[in-house]
Amino acid sequence: MSTDTAPEVARPSEAPRQPDGSSRVRRELVRFMPLIILAVLLVLLSLRNPDLLTQRSLTTMADSAAPLMVLAVGITVVILCGGIDLSIGALASFASVLTALWVPSMSGAVVVPVVLVCALAGVVQGWIHIAARVPSFIVTLGGMSLWTGLALAFSGASTVAVTDIAALRWAFTRIGGTVPSALVIALGVVVVLGAVMRFTPFGRWVASVGHAEPAARLAGLPVSMVKIAAFGVSGACAGLAGVLLVARTFSGAPTLGESLLLPAVAAVIVGGTAITGGHGGLFRTVVGALIVVLLRTGLSLIGVDAGFEPIFYGVLIIIAVSVTIDRSKVAVLK
């Protein structure tokens, strides 16, 4: 599919007309690397701890993977456009607070207004990015602080417990007694968004804007609209991720989603989507999210304290970016 091409490492000045043998091998290797890593991780970890592949441990991992996957899929669309959305963690926290506050009056239907509010928040950030011509990095960095602040204000700076346990049961249950509903919801998001990207022009527009925005603009594509929509999708996904978090922890808190920003970005990059835009796709992010979750599990298996996880995300992101970045687009590194 168009949004799922391999990251091209060759610069225009070096790109041969037809890729020769070695560069094709390298490209294919980069393309399938995430899947290979995932398989190797799975084998290594299950050799070390055979309990890993039990149903119980798999469902636990799926529970923690679901919100991460939803967040990561959302931000993938923004990154494919060549932007970044740093606000998703804060927005998920904000969503968790809204959810906890609104459950008493709206019960399970709370997901609809929460996702809509967060989508709107994303659209507003996208619009400011376009209209004021401010880098998305800065707009969403400001947004990160803004949504955290609103979450603090709405929650009175404390955890808001959900007493009506049944209201969000749909998002934290076992379908048929085994499959976590959160995972099904996350995969549902992937399938719907993936279908939109593949079967409507939207996916091509996103890739075009990410690969070559001037060319996209001069071909008359709705560049601004595509970018704003991407931020809207990212916001909506953050909202849904917030609801999933509340369903799992039975509470909303102004810092609940904060720690998910780095793992989500790591999932996108490790999956093979280039931070420079254009190259990549949603299904790669699913693989990336699984890798991140497996690595996290693996770390705790070998006895690394969870407090050290940020070190590992930081290193992971830097390594993955250095492999997947499209250097032809980066004239000056800043």
């Binding site: 168009s2 091409t5 225009p12 790109a15 890739a207 001069l218 071909a219 254009g278």
Partner: protein, 505 residues
Amino acid sequence: MSDPVLSVEGLTKRYPGVTALDGMSFEVRPHEVVGLIGENGAGKSTLLKSLVGLVTPDAGTIRVRGEAVRLRGVAHAGSVGIGMVFQEQSLVPNLTVAENILLGAERSAVRGGIYRWRAMKTLAQEQLDKIGSRIDPGARTDTLTFAQRQMVEVAKVLTIEERITGEPVVLLDEPTSVLERDEIATLFAQIERLRRRASVVFVSHRLDEVLEVSDRVYVLRNGQVVAEVDPSAVDATDLHHLLIGRESGGSHYHDEAQRECDGAPVRLRVENLSTAGCTKVSFEVRAGEVVGVAGVQGSGREDVCRALFGAIRSSGGRVTLDDQPFRLGSPRSAVRSGVGYVPSERRTDGIIPPMSVAENLSMAHVGEVCSGPVLQVKRERGLVDHWVRRLGIKTPSPDTAIGTLSGGNQQKVVLARWMIDDDLRLLILDHPTRGLDVGAKSDVYALIRDLAAAGCAVLLLSDTLEEMIALSHRVVVMKDGEVVTTVETPKGAKPDPVVILEEMV
């Protein structure tokens, strides 16, 4: 004859789809001013970039005083004695003249990592004295005029003298392009002065200037040296013929296919259009008419075309398309009104290299291959196959990444992108044949003729006057942001390019 200071043998550089340098050879002897002329795309800028190590050639040798060198960058080139005065200037605007001159070559002006201002001023003054310039080394660079900054650049380049034994080669890249008449005279006096201590390579597309200042002139075309001439033995017209070549008979431009369109309705009417680069431009294009816009760099002709497509902002004017008011907004609104645009920078503005031929072809009118919001892949395939066949686009498959095709085939896809629109009313062609080989050019000319014959209005900017005159019904000549005249160029009575050239400069 003395040994050359700089000699280039068989220099070759290929980019995907374009051969920028095709076995270029020339030499520069001591204290000589060598002129290099060529049209856009002849390979001038790639050549200069290879001479200062900004481009690594695929083949060929660069020899400095007989010794082969592989240049790794501007600093390395300087250390072997080659320095360049860049066309777009390379000074840091918020530093002083002295800092700029010594930037990267501070020597005793820095001790222990700390600037010693007095030493710096003295050293900078030495450099300025070499060219007899009275610019204050303590002045901030952004307070100087363009011509003064250019002198600072020359002084800066001469710092390489201190690093080498022997005399340097100074490359001047289009140094006159934004200078006024008297400033040009000053520059030429400076070049005379410069030759006493260096060899000079003077690159320009202004024929008379090259003839005036050079001892020998190399004419470049399609990445090769096609002639070496003695300025005293030729005039501008001879040079012009060498420059554009005689590759072409009438069939090259498909002259016989030019249709009369005198009775056709006016398609595009531009009245008093103004932008940052042009003022009160007015002209008309009829349906089926090809109108060329001629002008040198800075004439504002690019601004006119880009403003009409909504790619840059316009500050005033009235434009109608088929007698309906046409709002200059965004490229998207222009496309929706049936206007197409082929940009001059194909690789960055025209195509999306990693995406497929099919995606690049259908992108502007993707609605044609959609049912509601859903892409109809089969319908798209049919449409793309049709156009690939009709335009003879050589591609392994419609799914091939367009970046791997040759330049000519890429450009055909860009043209097809607009031709799939049955209601295409106006096509703006911004240097549509830049970087294409002769055969591909001829194919593009044929397509332009077809489009015009089908009633589409065409606005054309060309690298070469000959191309523009051959393709157009009329040529609008611009200078300093204004239309100066319009020259009729009907079939069978094409004027000499020199007529238009005289109006341009």
